[in-house]
C-alpha cells in the first residue's frame, strides 16, 4: 500500500488567482476610442447652392488655413496658440465694438433676456493643409467654446458646463451659440 503524500493545502490558491486577476484588471488599459465629434452638414439642394445665406462681414470669423499650415484670421496672420483668445474675444465682444459681431436680444431659459452674439465661425482649409493642423484648429475652437460656456455656467450655477443637467446645458448652448461652418470645398489652384 502506497504511503499517502500529504495533500498540499490549496485553499489559498483561489486567493492567489484572484489577486492576479485583480492586478491585471486594474492595470489593463482598454483602448478607448476618443476623438473630436462633428456633425457634417447635409448636401445642399441644387437651388440652394446659389442662395447662400448672406451674413454681415462683421459677424463672420473667417479662418483660412493655407498649405503651409498658416492661419489667416479675418485678414491677419495669427498663430494657432492665439486663436483661442481671439475666438473668445470675437464672441464676447465686451465693448460692443463696430468690427466685432452684433448681438441680439434673446430670451434664454434660466438666464432671461440676454444679448446673444450673432457671430459665426467660417473655416476654410487648403487641400494641402496638414490634417494635424486642421485638428488643432478644431481643438482650439472647441476649447474656446467650452471656456465660454464654462464661464457662463460658473457665473450662474457655480458649476462647470460639463456638470450641468441637460436643460441647463441647452440653455447655455442657446446663450453661447458657437457655430462652425466649413466652407464647401472649392478646387482652386489644384492640389
Amino acid at each position: 500500500m502506497a504511503r499517502k503524500t500529504p495533500e498540499i493545502n490549496s485553499s489559498s490558491m483561489a486567493d492567489i488567482a484572484f489577486l492576479l486577476l485583480i492586478f491585471f484588471l486594474v492595470t489593463t488599459t482598454m483602448d478607448v476610442d476618443t476623438g473630436i465629434y462633428k456633425k457634417l452638414p447635409p448636401i445642399p439642394e441644387d437651388e440652394q447652392l446659389n442662395d447662400d445665406v448672406k451674413v454681415k462681414k462683421r459677424n463672420v470669423f473667417s479662418i483660412l488655413v493655407n498649405r503651409n499650415n498658416e492661419l489667416l484670421v479675418n485678414g491677419e496672420v495669427l498663430s494657432i496658440s492665439a486663436l483661442r483668445e481671439k475666438t473668445k474675444e470675437f464672441f464676447l465682444n465686451p465693448q460692443n465694438l463696430e468690427n466685432l459681431p452684433e448681438k441680439a436680444l434673446k430670451n434664454v431659459p434660466y438666464f432671461g433676456d440676454v444679448m446673444v452674439s450673432k457671430g459665426l465661425i467660417s473655416l476654410q482649409n487648403d487641400r494641402g493643409t496638414r490634417y494635424e493642423t486642421y485638428i488643432r484648429v478644431q481643438d482650439e475652437l472647441a476649447a474656446a467654446s467650452r471656456e465660454l460656456k464654462d464661464e457662463k455656467s460658473v457665473q450662474k450655477w457655480g458649476k462647470k458646463y460639463a456638470e450641468l443637467d441637460d436643460d441647463q446645458k441647452a440653455a447655455v448652448r442657446k446663450y453661447i451659440p458657437v457655430q462652425i461652418s466649413e466652407a464647401e470645398p472649392r478646387n482652386t489652384g489644384g492640389k
Binding site: T5, F24, T34, I36, L40, P41, P42, R127, I135
Partner: protein, 155 residues
C-alpha cells in the same frame, strides 16, 4: 543501487495537481494581457493627432472606421507612399466609400442604422485634400455623424 532505494517496494507518489489551475490561470492571464482586440489588420501606418477637447466614442458597435495613412512598408511597392484609404481589410479609393457605408448600414439592425458614426482614423501628416473628398462622399451617403479620432494630449 540500493544506496538510493531504501525502500524498494514503495510506489511512486502521485504528483499533486493542486498547482495546475494556477498554471492555467497564469497562461490565461498572459494571453489576456498580450492580446489586443482588433477587428481589422491595418495596412497603413496611422499616428492620430493629439487634441484636448475630446469625447469618448461610445457604443463601439455603431462605429465604422475609415483608415487613412501611408501604406506600410510591405505594401509600398504596390501602393506607393502617398496616403491611401483603407476600408475593412483592403485598400480602397474615395469612390468605394459610399458602397462601404451602405454595407455597414446593411449589417446593422434596422432601427440602429441612422445612429451609425463614422470614425476617421487619419495619420497626422496626411493632407486635407483626401479628407475633404472623404467628407464629401460621406455627405453624399448621408452619413453625417463623424468622429475625428485623436489622442489625448499628454498634460
Amino acid at each position: 543501487m540500493s544506496k538510493f532505494r531504501k525502500d524498494g517496494k514503495k510506489d511512486l507518489p502521485a504528483i499533486s495537481t493542486a498547482s495546475l489551475p494556477d498554471i492555467v490561470f497564469m497562461l490565461l492571464f498572459f494571453f489576456m494581457v498580450a492580446t489586443t482586440m482588433r477587428e481589422v489588420d491595418l495596412n497603413v501606418d496611422i499616428m492620430v493627432p493629439e487634441a484636448k477637447e475630446i469625447t469618448k466614442l461610445e457604443k463601439k458597435d455603431l462605429v465604422s472606421n475609415i483608415y487613412v495613412g501611408v501604406p506600410m512598408r510591405k505594401f509600398t511597392k504596390t501602393y506607393g507612399t502617398e496616403p491611401r484609404i483603407q476600408l475593412n481589410d483592403q485598400f480602397a479609393t474615395v469612390a468605394d466609400i459610399q458602397a462601404f457605408i451602405a454595407s455597414e448600414r446593411e449589417s446593422r439592425k434596422e432601427e440602429l442604422r441612422n445612429k451609425l458614426t463614422t470614425s476617421l482614423k487619419v495619420d497626422q501628416y496626411t493632407k486635407m485634400g483626401i479628407i475633404t473628398d472623404i467628407k464629401q462622399e460621406l455627405r453624399k451617403a448621408s452619413s453625417l455623424k463623424l468622429n475625428y479620432s485623436t489622442r489625448q494630449t499628454a498634460e
